[in-house]
């Protein structure tokens, strides 16, 4: 086997693998954005998205490299081409190289991974605090600085449609399974701390657009924080198996500009005051 042949086959294999990678990693995302993590609407979600993309591409390149060598070999070094088998059984030099290079790659990955984590775990300096309690199968939100509190459950339309053989078409239900009766309303541009706990079993509070999930554990209070940059409606779900209706306790966050948020707060206070 001449050397040139190996190079040509390797290039052809490389091209095929790059095309395959493009087909499975890039092409599905061209039409819609429902095949990848969201960049989200917080610094954290953007950080985690960037980190995800860095690691994804490093992994893709490693995979392409390994498979290029492997499939080149599969094409060339076969008995049907009368290839005579080599006799080597080890190479200390090669083995050192492919121990050291991965270590260097890992160190390279660890740097942004550490930075993002340190930022995520710094909840100091929050301007408001919301307490989240998971129940089977709904969420309770308490605005600790405002004396506002309410329960948030799956909205009635979704709940009717999700019954076994309900005969209703999920696609016709507005935000099927991702809609609630009382959304969590938050202001944009403010550092908000969440205290997260549960009443019965472990749940996990997750809104992908905010960039993280955090377990709600009975008897313990966890903390996490967010600072939403863009007004909008963001949906999520419970992420820890919590019993039969685990799939039916969604989360909806409505992020409002400060003035609209203040209006909402005074409305809530008036309502809760009227209810007393």
């Amino acid at each position: 086997m001449k050397k040139e042949n190996t190079v040509i086959v390797a290039l052809a294999v490389l091209a095929a693998l790059v095309a395959t990678t493009w087909l499975i990693l890039v092409a599905p995302g061209l039409g819609s954005n429902e095949v990848n993590m969201t960049r989200g609407v917080t610094q954290q979600s953007a950080d985690h998205f960037e980190l995800h993309m860095i690691v994804l591409w490093i992994c893709a390149i490693i995979g392409i490299g390994v498979f290029t060598v492997m499939f080149t070999s599969i094409v060339l070094h076969r008995k049907s081409r009368n290839h005579t088998p080599a006799k080597f059984s080890h190479s200390t030099k090669a083995e050192i190289i492919w121990t050291v290079i991965p270590v260097l790659i890992l160190v390279g990955m660890a740097v942004p991974a550490t930075t993002a984590l340190v930022k995520m775990e710094d909840s100091s300096g929050a301007e408001m605090t919301v307490k989240i309690t998971g129940f089977q199968w709904r969420w309770k939100y308490e605005y600790l600085d405002e004396d506002i509190s309410f329960i948030s459950s799956l909205d009635p339309n979704s709940n009717a449609a999700r019954q076994l053989n309900s005969g209703m078409v999920p696609a016709n239900v507005d935000n099927y399974l991702l809609n609630v009766d009382h959304p969590l309303v938050l202001p944009v541009g403010k550092k908000i701390k969440f205290l997260i706990t549960a009443d019965d079993v472990i749940h996990s509070w997750w809104v992908p657009a905010l960039g993280w999930k955090r377990d709600a554990i009975p008897g313990f209070v966890n903390e996490a924080w967010t600072n939403i940059e863009k007004p909008g409606t963001y949906r999520g779900q419970c992420a820890e198996l919590c019993g039969k209706d685990h799939g039916f306790m969604p989360i909806v966050v409505i992020a409002l500009p400060q003035d609209e948020y203040d209006t909402w707060v005074s409305e809530q206070l008036a309502e809760q005051g009227a209810a007393l």
Partner: protein, 543 residues
């Protein structure tokens, strides 16, 4: 505990075969009371194949319910029982016993021994399993239903299981006892029964990986037993190990469980590494590349598996230092795993390859396991894991390492050694059909689940928002096709055992290496009555 030693000539009634074949002729003696490593191996393999189909049919229920949005077939609670049972059956009933089955068949033949070291215990360790799994499966028919809290059995949720929970715990105990007895037997066999000259560093890789796996099993199965015992007393006897109200901590269960659970994933994959390291040299007609580093990489992986457990629980809220430590330690595992993959590729490089079914499954393993390994590296990145955790991305990841990982390796092993076991060649044509359809459908089944997870679909939900509909439907179609494809496998195996007219030679494959290929196909009832003398490492010798 019985430590009886085989005396091949006085042990069983002679059934008249002329080549030292002493099979009992009575059915019960042959199968129920057998102490023969090959018969017990066969029992393990049949049992695990049965469990593979039972667990698989549960997966079909899951994929059918997830075929489209809305609930069409089962209530959510039954769905949760299906996901929980599917995992318990596949992990403890299909993959682990299948590896023990191959260990039974192969280890004595590979190290030049007549049988396993502890044949009586071997019989017990197998016959516990049908009882354990009957007990486990029977919970599905109880009023309180089967376990529905996931195979990870997290409290407090799992404590809401009804009285059937006691059956689950006892079933887990029995599986544990079975695995531990099997492991003791394997270690004793490898330590004490090696043929003269079979030094540790001349052992086949399958023997090495199983030796390390057996130590992992003995170290962690008792920890699982302890954890479920604590759940049992919390449930029925008012202890408060995991009850926050009584001073306990539900998160502590997760730490204990994953102290078992992470080594457990290597228990399922290390023997697969061994099998691939046996098959690639054969069909590349070339020595295994880097035998020594393969052994050390396996040992390193096993060691690291004990110190990374909390990467399964990054979202429970740990101190920053803890999160950083578990992230770095987990990332480190990719180094020895990478060494293995690079060594496999180097084994193929400059070989003279042919592509019989075992080789195809082995190559499929290397490619798809690597994909699963790389997504595992992504999951190690704590901050990104705050998004990945408990989504279909995780489901895709562990199915890539378990299905085209462990299960493909089991298929590869079956095709590779079946001619040795039965004395007949299987149908290469149907083997190849089985491989190609499995390889295609397993990707149709699991690859879209990466997209679903990244797009925000949590795992363990029976119904989902219509935005996830397309990829779920594709995944389900792939699942049904993959499930149906496995019926071909049963056909090929049965045909090979009972119908095939093509007799296998002792060496079976042109490039095969190792002692088992010096025996007849099928080998005599007791493998090596006269120990062979081993002079070199068959896997890494260059001729």
């Amino acid at each position: 505990m019985s430590t009886e030693v085989i005396h091949p000539d006085t042990h069983h009634v002679d059934d008249g075969h002329d080549h030292g074949d002493h099979k009992p002729s009575n059915f019960l003696d042959r199968w129920l009371f057998t102490t023969n490593h090959k018969d017990i191996g066969t029992l393990y393999l049949i049992f695990s194949l049965t469990m593979f189909f039972i667990g698989g049919s549960m997966a079909m229920v899951i994929r059918a319910e997830l075929f489209m949005p809305g609930l069409q077939l089962v209530e959510p609670d039954f769905f949760n029982q299906m996901t929980t049972m599917h995992a318990l059956i596949m992990v403890f009933g299909a993959v682990m016993p299948a590896w023990v089955g191959f260990a039974n068949w192969l280890i004595p033949m590979m190290i030049g021994a007549p049988d396993m070291a502890l044949p009586r215990m071997n019989n017990w360790s197998f016959w516990i399993l049908p009882f354990a799994f009957t007990m486990l499966l029977s919970t599905l028919f109880m009023d309180s239903g089967g376990p529905a809290a996931g195979w990870t059995l997290y409290p407090p949720l799992v404590l809401q299981t009804g009285t059937s929970f006691a059956f689950v715990v006892f079933a887990v105990h029995m599986m544990g006892v079975s695995s531990i007895m099997g492991s003791i037997n394997i270690i004793a066999t490898i330590f004490n029964m090696r043929a003269p000259g079979m030094r540790l560093l001349r052992m086949p890789m399958f023997v090495w990986t199983w030796l390390i796996t057996a130590f992992l099993l003995i170290a962690v199965m008792p920890v699982l037993a302890g954890a479920v015992t604590m759940l049992l007393t919390d449930h029925f006897f008012s202890t408060n190990f995991f009850n926050a109200a009584g001073g306990g901590d539900p998160v502590m269960f997760q730490h204990i469980f994953w102290f078992f659970g992470h080594p457990e994933v290597y228990i399922m994959i290390l023997p697969a590494f061994g099998v691939i390291s046996e098959i690639l040299p054969t069909f590349s007609r070339k020595p295994l590349f880097g035998y020594g580093s393969m052994v050390y990489a396996t040992a390193t992986i096993a060691f690291l598996s004990f110190i990374v457990w909390a990467h399964h629980m990054f979202t429970v809220g740990m101190p920053l230092q803890g999160e950083l430590y578990f992230m770095y330690a987990t990332m480190l595992i990719s180094v020895p795993t990478g060494v293995k993959v690079f060594n496999w590729v180097s084994t193929m490089w400059q070989g003279s390859m042919t592509f019989e079914t075992p080789m195809l499954f082995a190559i499929g393993f290397v490619v798809l396991f690597t994909i699963g390994g790389l997504s595992g590296l992504m999951l190690a990145i704590t901050a990104a894991d705050f998004q990945y955790h408990d989504t279909y991305f995780v489901v895709a990841h562990f199915h890539y390492v378990l299905v085209p990982g462990s299960v493909f390796a089991l298929m590869a092993a079956t095709y590779y050694w079946l001619p040795k076991f039965t004395g007949n060649m299987y149908s290469e044509k149907w083997g190849k059909i089985h491989f190609w359809s499995s390889a295609i459908f397993v990707n149709v089944l699991f690859f879209p689940q990466h997209y679903l997870g990244l797009a925000g679909m949590p795992r363990r939900i029976p119904d989902y928002s219509p935005q996830f509909a397309d990829f779920n439907m594709i995944s389900s179609l792939g699942g049904f096709a993959f499930g149906a494809t496995q019926l071909i496998f049963v056909g090929v195996v049965l045909h090979c055992a009972y119908r095939s007219k093509v007799k296998a030679t002792p060496e079976v494959w042109e490039g095969s290496r190792g002692l088992e290929w010096t025996l007849d196909s099928p080998p005599a009832y007791h493998s090596f009555n006269t120990p062979p003398v081993v002079t070199h490492n068959a896997l890494s010798r260059a001729d």
